[in-house]
């Protein structure tokens, strides 16, 4: 009797210890990034010897880094929107159809994820040049969307699998055309899934630097590209500063959008 009970206790303790340990390890590099963003010396050391806000000041005064942040955000927003629209509509279409197109499409959508970004980047570079599409924003947005779309697509597949399709039927039955049904009925119900997949898409774009390296131009370069190229010479705390800045900005963004959504929810209640 008490044997089983005490075994459960031990299991409990091990289980808890396990996930807190993983959590701690997960946070280690983040701690390094944050701490080094305040360090005094001009090359990255950990643990650092002194602290300063100087690098934040440098960052905020650096046109190059600021415009990289702007480009990253623009491209992230562009590609996550594109991927979300394509992934959501595509996944919606595939859901309830058994045409050949809807069977062929999912593996094709998955394929770009399996191709090394060097290859995908170079191939796209050649292709974009051939068709004369040389706007770097568009190029990088498309390239990132190729990676983000499968993620959105598969996340939405699982979301739609849990969606109650009767609601859509009910909407149509009550006289709403497909577009309005989507807007008034489907979307509000899968909103959290859409938000999650958009965020994931944005993150993929925010992280990707190899395709972006190929497709960048004079005007356009993203943060990870700049971070990667500046790694080539010497790693200043600037890279940490930008990361810390992006993390903080995202957290603020998440909190803000949560607040906005709640406001919306509040508005709905009134």
């Amino acid at each position: 009797m008490s044997e089983a009970v005490s075994r459960e206790r031990v299991e409990d303790v091990l289980f808890r210890a396990g996930y807190w340990l993983v959590l701690a390890v997960l946070m280690l590099p983040i701690v390094v990034v944050f701490v080094t963003s305040f360090q005094q010396s001009s090359y990255l050391t950990f643990p650092p010897s002194g602290f300063t806000l100087e690098w934040y000041a440098t960052f905020l005064g650096s046109e190059e880094w600021l415009s990289a942040v702007r480009d990253s955000v623009l491209i992230g927003v562009g590609s996550s929107l594109l991927a979300t629209v394509l992934g959501v509509t595509g996944s919606l279409a595939v859901q309830r159809s058994d045409s050949w197109a809807s069977r062929v499409l999912p593996p094709i959508v998955l394929l770009p994820l399996l191709i090394p970004p060097v290859v995908l980047g170079l191939t796209l570079l050649i292709y974009f040049n051939r068709i004369g599409l040389t706007n770097s924003y568009v190029n990088i947005v498309v390239a990132h969307a190729l990676w983000a779309t499968p993620l959105v697509f598969f996340i939405m597949q699982s979301v739609f699998a849990r969606f109650d399709w009767n609601l859509r039927d009910a909407g149509m039955d009550l006289g709403a055309r497909p577009g309005r049904v989507f807007y008034h009925v489907t979307l509000p119900n899968v909103r959290s899934g859409v938000v999650i997949s958009t965020v994931v898409a944005f993150i993929v774009s925010l992280q990707e630097f190899i395709m972006a390296l190929f497709l960048k131009s004079f005007e356009v370069q993203t943060v990870p590209v700049l971070a990667w190229t500046s790694l080539q010479s010497s790693l200043t705390p600037m890279v940490s500063v930008v990361s810390a800045f992006l993390v903080l900005a995202s957290i603020v963004g998440v909190l803000l959008s949560a607040a906005v959504m709640n406001l919306e929810w509040l508005a709905e209640q009134l």
């Binding site: 010396s41 001009s42 090359y43 990255l44 050391t45 170079l122 570079l125 050649i126 040049n129 051939r130 004369g132 040389t134 390296l213 190929f214 960048k216 131009s217 004079f218 005007e219 190229t229 500046s230 790694l231 080539q232 010479s233 010497s234 790693l235």
Partner: protein, 334 residues
Amino acid sequence: TGMLGDSGGPQTLRVTVWSGNYVERFEEAIRPIFESRFDAELELVSGWNSLLAKIKSAPADDPPFDVTVACEPIYYNGRSQDLFEELRYEDHIPNIDNVIQHYKDIRPYSHGAPVDGAPLSILYNTDLEEPVETWSDFTSFVVQQSNGVGVDSGFWIYPLLAAGVGTDAAPGAQELYEEQHHDALMDTIEAWPIEGWASSGTDVWQQFQNGIVDAAQWYFDQVYYDMEDHPNVEFAMPEQNAGWMNNWAVVRGTDKRQLGEEFINMLLDPEVQSKWAEDHPLFFTTSGMSYPDDLAQYLPTTAEEAEQWSIPQWEEVAPYSEQFSNKFKQMKNQ
């Protein structure tokens, strides 16, 4: 700036340079001069090594940039693939005459003018019992017993040049170009206790800091200014040395060929190079330029000094390049 269709305004010259602190210092030194001398704007992009791919994949009459920096093997490949315009020295680049002949002899300069470059340097931990001052010291007992040696993992030619300089089979790094010495060359480099494969200056400093290496090969221009941050690392410039050199080229199909040539001409102006040297510890190819005083002791100022340095001659090494490349990869992979 530089949007499509605004050809009415001042011209924009799009120039590719190396990334990292090269572009930062280039920007500081050259942009003001360029803007004061030309009625044009300068747009700099720091290319990674994808620049040839970009030219190659672009339409022949619409390259992604107008002027590019190039070293070997990029210069060689660009030239042999017709990706660069031939330079019209007579008409637009009179300053070529300022260039020390030795630099012009290293490679054909028909498609690219030799402008700048940097020597390799040796970095070593000051805690070592003896300083590491020549390339042959990498095989010395002190280095063999240390944590290890760090070398560039991306461009095999530079570690091999250094090894060649440190090998006595042939003068300079001639071992690279003469097949009979290849075995001796490989024996030398295999004797180096390589522990760190660095792909950037950052890597090298990290490897020192993290106790992975106690000596390393890296590029003078990238480490010179960072030395002060690393009190336990010293650097040495052997007299018998190797290095890299840029040939600046005008990209094929550009509609600003002349402006590009004039830009290169500007880079060959000793005055410009002197100014540039204040910002960036590079060596320059004209005889008339002068270095800020502390630099002059490290960099060649005369043709004789320049000839002590082995700079890659791709034409000579091309037949063996695959073989070297594979050997090098095998070394890394073992």
